[in-house]
């Protein structure tokens, strides 16, 4: 079935749907990872975005039971050059087309993904509509222009936790708090409250491996409620949308920064940036891929990193905050720390999934900083 993609500036391409009939829209971005489409599709940070894969062959190894980054698919649509219908891998439990159809996510192949990527690189990520129903390009362009822009968009409520949960046996387990807001920690690690703005599960796996006992909570969980749980530190997760729209979350974090160690990744890093007085800006086409070189300014070492962000923190000489990591491609900020308080965060994804695991050790750096600050 023919599908037409039209961007807000009128750029149009045709492809073939391999998931039946649909019409959907969102911000169109490209991802350069050559493996890891399952992790990309299930990463909640892609909410509101249609993902174009620059590597042309997708679905070769199918879908595995172990590589989910959340319970479902969050990308609005999956745009590829060629989709493999019959995968080959010993762990495969399902084909990519079946996986997309199971979650009602449109998939399109036969698109000139290289032309699309070049267009987005030159002109920036932008809104688009893809449809098997409407063929009139001008009508589709009108619809694309009617979509909300990513700048100014708060998408956290669509994917964030709605209640507290613990992480054990490799899955989220809902828990309840006491009447006084206390929590019965199991004693498996250092008590850590994790704000789930749309977290990737591999972050929770790594927090556990680094010696934490995570208690995930929804975005509006107050600083007072955090204290009532008995947690010793806080972690802020990744998530979708424009960080500048998260006024309430930023206010909570500002309060938390005053009295306990705070760490974060991706959106969590951007919220910490705002809470400390920095601001965020939108990147032209974002960083989405598995090959970004990041220099750790504290050691001089370079890591090849997994990245997925459309916004970045600009420090602007904010007092008592220093850059710890910088992207060697465009010199944007990749990590920060407070010079006096136990606060540190990373823009990129040390948990990988998908991508190189060079940054895995940074979860231990979180643990060491928190250990030093809390005497644990």
């Amino acid at each position: 079935m023919k599908a037409v993609l039209v961007l807000e500036d009128g750029f149009a391409l045709e492809g073939q749907s391999f998931t039946g009939d649909f019409e959907t829209g969102g911000e169109v971005i490209f991802t350069t990872g050559m493996t890891g489409y399952q992790e990309v599709l299930t990463d909640p940070s892609y909410t509101g975005q249609m993902v174009c894969m620059t590597y042309p062959l997708m679905g070769n190894y199918g879908i595995t039971a172990e590589d989910m980054e959340s319970a479902g698919i969050h990308a609005e649509a999956f745009l590829v050059k060629e989709c493999c219908k019959e995968p080959s891998n010993w762990r495969s439990v399902m084909s990519l087309p079946d996986f997309l159809m199971k979650h009602g996510t449109p998939g399109v192949e036969g698109l000139d993904t290289r032309a699309l990527t070049r267009h987005l690189r030159l002109n920036g990520a932008m809104r688009g509509i893809i449809s098997t129903r409407e063929k009139d390009r001008e009508a589709l362009r009108e619809k694309a222009l009617g979509l909300p822009t990513m700048k100014g968009r708060n998408l956290v409520p669509r994917v964030a936790a709605t209640g507290p949960y613990a992480w054990h046996d490799n899955a989220p387990r809902p828990v309840s708090l006491g009447p006084d807001g206390s929590y019965a920690w199991r004693g498996t690690g250092l008590p850590l409250v994790v704000y789930d703005y749309g977290i990737k599960w591999n972050i929770l796996r790594h927090l556990v491996a680094a010696g934490f006992e995570p208690l995930a909570v929804p975005p509006g969980f107050t600083a007072q409620a955090v204290r009532a749980t008995g947690a010793r530190a806080v972690f802020l997760s990744n998530g979708p949308g424009d960080p500048a729209t998260l006024g309430e979350e930023i206010a909570i974090v500002r309060e938390l920064c005053r009295d306990m160690p705070v760490t974060g990744i991706c959106l969590g890093h951007q919220i910490i940036g705002h809470a400390l007085g920095a601001h965020t800006e939108k990147l032209k086409f974002g960083h989405h891929g598995c090959n970004h070189p990041v220099k750790d300014l504290t050691t001089g070492k370079i890591e090849i990193s997994s990245q997925n962000h459309g916004f970045h923190v600009v420090l602007d000489g904010v007092a008592d905050v220093e850059a710890t990591h910088v992207n060697l491609n465009d010199h944007t900020l990749e990590g920060l720390r407070h010079t006096k308080l136990p606060i540190m965060s990373l823009q990129y994804h040390p948990e990988a999934a998908a991508g190189p695991r060079d940054g895995n050790h940074l979860f231990h750096r979180f643990r060491e900083m928190i250990g030093r600050a809390t005497g644990n």
């Binding site: 890891g36 080959s88 070189p293 991508g355």
Partner: protein
């Protein structure tokens, strides 16, 4: 760190004549290295006996010796030229072996010549089976499990601990006489007994068989600050059992998920560190069991390899040039990315296309040579092709062979062979197996049966099937005789 200023004159050893098993890939890497070192202001002395090379062109090195690449000649060159350093990692195994000999004979120490790129102990550690196995054990990586037996009791002990199927190799017999494959303990009794009696020393090596496993290669680079990057991953179309030089290979890896690929990536970097290659490129090969993902390390080359030329041209990352610059002290983040010219070399190329290498054979020129592909290399050349899909790249690659094939749709003889013959040709790897695969698909042999006979991954078989189906649909058939 900036480049070293304590070095002034550097000796580069070339790869010598072109032979089957070693083509002109080391002229490519050596030329790049000579240019890179000159660019940095070093005086370059070159030894290479092969005049049909770019690197021996008069304007390349400051002094060029077209002399035999052997110990005494190299020692004489060192005595005359007094280089500060020797860069042996860009001239293939020939240069690496020569450097090791010069080190062992004391010539390098006598004239104060430092080996840069890979130290002598690194070369030894990578080359020696025992030292390499030990190193892999240190970092928790597996090699195909094996053991030595001198009698049937020892054979049975090994049979109880090693995973079947097992390969039995009698010691000191010509062409592996008396060896064989054992699929269970009963087989092992028979095969090992035969092997023990065939061996003049009554000794057999019993090794885990990885025939038919996926074969994966990684091209890794490391700088003196321990920054590591993977330039390219390569998957072999022909599984373990066929020499990489004789396999159709594809970049990047096609049939591993991200988690599986990252495991291979982590292992390849860990191996480079453990073997101790301080700067430059290495090639690491792995076998992966397609049934359960079990991974074994096959080997590593602590130098620029045959695959480096392919990886460089496939990704645009000039491995030999960068390796030469890393050897004189630069770090990856100090060197420019040749593709973007704006960013730095410490990155991993992400490509939006598929690259194939197709080997070229000339069995017809060697009467008496059997057209059978094994673990010793027999191809005499290769072609690289790039496509937006595997199918496009394969068609271009086969067309580049100049054997008359317009692509996969080629009948190399008038009549289609009987199915029995086709299946035999799938089981025993040979130079025309790719075309027998097409005939098997046309004859209606199932994917399962083709996989069972050839151990070629079903993903590749389905790619061929797409081409065969398209051929059938197409009005203009490439071969009217079918």
């Amino acid at each position: 760190m900036p480049k070293r200023t304590d070095l002034h004159k550097i000796l580069v050893i070339g790869a010598g004549p072109i032979i089957i098993g070693q083509g002109c890939e080391f002229d490519y890497s050596g030329s790049q290295a000579v240019k890179a070192l000159k660019e940095e202001g070093y005086e370059v002395v070159l030894v290479n006996s092969n005049p049909a090379t770019i690197m021996t062109d008069p304007q390349m090195a400051d002094a060029t010796y077209v002399e035999p690449i052997e110990h005494d000649t190299l020692a004489a060159v060192i005595r005359k030229e007094r280089p500060d350093a020797l860069l042996p990692t860009l001239g293939g195994q020939t240069a690496l072996n020569a450097a090791l000999e010069l080190f062992k004979s004391g010539v390098l120490a006598e004239y104060g010549v430092e080996i840069i790129g890979a130290r002598a102990e690194v070369i030894e550690k990578a080359e020696s089976r025992e030292l390499f196995r030990e190193a892999m054990e240190n970092i928790g990586l597996k090699m195909p499990a094996s053991g030595i037996a001198h009698n049937m009791d020892e054979v049975r002990q090994l049979g109880n601990v090693l995973p079947f199927p097992l390969i039995v190799r009698p010691a000191f017999t010509l062409g592996g006489t008396g060896g064989g494959v054992a699929y269970n303990l009963e087989d092992l009794e028979v095969v090992a007994a035969r092997g023990l009696s065939a061996s003049p020393t009554s000794e057999v090596m019993i090794e885990q068989s990885v025939l038919g496993w996926k074969e994966i290669e990684m091209e890794v680079m490391r700088d003196q600050k321990d920054n590591c990057v993977v330039i390219c991953s390569i998957e072999n179309f022909d599984p373990m059992g066929v020499h990489t030089g004789d396999s159709i290979t594809v970049a990047p890896v096609q049939t591993l998920s991200d988690a599986e690929y990252q495991k291979v990536r982590d292992a390849s970097i860990a191996i480079m560190r453990e073997i101790g290659v301080e700067t430059g490129g290495s090639n690491v090969q792995f076998g992966i069991n397609p049934a359960d993902g079990d991974m074994v390390v096959i080997e590593m080359n602590p130098r620029v390899s045959r695959s480096s030329a392919l990886a460089s041209k496939a990704t645009g990352f000039p491995i030999a040039k960068i390796a030469a610059k890393l050897a004189v002290g630069y770090t990856l983040d100090e060197l420019a990315n040749d593709i973007t010219r704006e960013t730095v070399a410490s990155f991993e190329p992400a490509i939006d296309y598929v690259v194939l290498k197709v080997p070229r054979f000339t069995f017809e020129k060697f009467p008496g040579a059997r057209d059978e592909l094994t673990t010793s290399m027999k191809s005499v050349g290769e072609a690289m092709s790039i496509g937006r899909t595997f199918k496009e790249a394969l068609q271009k690659g086969l067309r580049s062979m100049e054997i008359g094939a317009p692509g996969l749709g080629w009948n190399f003889r008038a009549e289609t062979p009987p199915v029995d013959e086709i299946m035999e040709k799938l089981r025993t790897p040979n130079s025309r197996r790719i075309f027998y695969l097409r005939q098997a698909l046309i004859a209606g042999v199932s994917e399962e049966d083709i996989f069972a006979a050839s151990a070629i991954d079903p993903w590749f078989i389905r790619q061929l099937k797409d081409i065969v189906d398209m051929e059938a649909k197409s009005a203009i058939s490439a071969s009217p005789t079918t």
